[in-house]
């Protein structure tokens, strides 16, 4: 038992470095999901029929296919087919990001659609173009309403990042696996890896809750 703890203690710096990689994947994936998810949501709400169909198909594909399959498909298949030489880290980030787009666009769309639509009309009646009205009135509110959904999405993406170890990325799980295969202290190391993930989840959710409070508007969303 003591030996296990010693092994864990010695491996900890190495694993903690892996946390940085994990965080990198998560931040990259969520960032991509956000940046692309918002326009996707807008396309679904305000776009024409073709756009809506396109988005719907995209969402169906990326929500229906398991992460592991997507990782294999893109890393071993599509990326090399396209002649791209992408590292495991970026492949994982991209795939999780594309999947994140699918989920986050739906979170954002739900937020937008839950807003009373009269606000858009009022803005346009004041002389704003539709685009401006969306940008200035709808987006800020929808973004705030989406924060709880993001919190959920964060914890999911964080856990999914562990799957990326199959590609040989250098995140927590890969490193734990590496050390374990040399020291045979699998149980202790994987429990430690679990604890690290747990900690990262907790910190992230806490952080998002602080964000929610910071940008909150008094009395907002009570009537919804």
């Amino acid at each position: 038992m003591l030996d296990s703890l010693i092994v864990v203690r010695d491996a900890l710096p190495y694993l903690l470095e892996g946390s940085l990689v994990t965080i990198g994947i998560v931040v990259g994936a969520m960032g991509l999901g956000l940046v692309a998810g918002v326009p996707m949501a807008m396309a679904q709400v305000y776009g024409n029929r073709a756009l809506r169909l396109l988005v719907a198909v995209y969402v169906w594909l990326f929500r229906g296919i398991p992460v592991l399959v997507l990782l294999f498909l893109f890393y071993f298949g599509l990326f090399s087919l396209m002649g791209l030489n992408i590292s495991a880290f970026w492949a994982a980030t991209l795939v999780l990001g594309m999947r994140g787009m699918a989920y986050q666009s739906q979170i954002f769309r739900g937020a937008m659609q839950s807003l009373p639509q009269g606000q858009l009309k009022a803005a346009m009646a004041l002389g704003m173009s539709e685009l401006k009205a969306i940008r200035v009135i709808i987006l800020p509110q929808a973004l705030r309403l989406s924060i709880p959904g993001w919190s959920n999405e964060y914890s999911i993406v964080l856990k999914d990042s562990a799957i990326a170890f199959v590609l040989g990325t250098s995140e927590i799980m890969s490193r734990a696996h590496f050390v374990a295969s040399r020291t045979y202290e699998q149980l202790a190391l994987y429990i430690t890896a679990g604890a690290l993930f747990f900690l990262l989840t907790w910190l992230g959710v806490r952080g998002l809750r602080v964000l929610e409070r910071k940008v909150s508007i008094p009395g907002y969303a009570q009537q919804i």
Binding site: L68, V69, L70, F72, G77, K159, I163, M173, Q186, Y190
Partner: protein, 223 residues
Amino acid sequence: MEPSFLLDEVVPALNDGLVLSLLLIIPSACLGLAMGIIAGTLRIFGPAWSSELAKWYTTIFRGTPLVVQLFILYFGLPNLGIYLEPYLAAVIGFTLCSGAYHSEYIRGALLSIKRGQVLAAQSLGFSTWKTMLCIIIPQALRRALPGCGNELIYLIKYSSLAYIVTCIELTGEGKILASKTFRFTEVFMAVGAYYLALVSLATLGLQKLERVLAVPGFGKNPS
């Protein structure tokens, strides 16, 4: 992709994998739901110690990746002298993880049922057991259906992780075939298609179930 490759190699291999996938999904779904019902009910109605235990179970299994849980079960337990077969490790892992999520939905559903109905049932002479059976459970089931149904869909997708513990289901068969033929794109697109089909069928089924069980005015929020 030539039809011959598809038919002669891909489909047979993936069908074999599909069988194992279903053998993984169905027991895990049932056991996971059962676990969720037990844990969720204990959280609300059980004695303090069991409520606390259920809370820790839920927190740990929802707060850590399924990958880690599977690793611990298959690669870690041998350190303690416990050797699980891949299939068993996978099913146990899926059950425990899925159960934690189910328990949250069940707990939420139970909490959403107005307490006054319990008083009314008691005043009519219903025993505790009958109250649970006739009044609480029918309502809790309907409230929990969207969440639990969603979790079932997740299980179908995450069953692909059985590959990690060397349980060769759909994904595993795909990997083997692709590595053999170097036709990764085609094979994994087929694998993706299989999962899409499973997920879509399940989604349709759940939507139908929700419609069948629907009661006018009995929505997500208590009136």
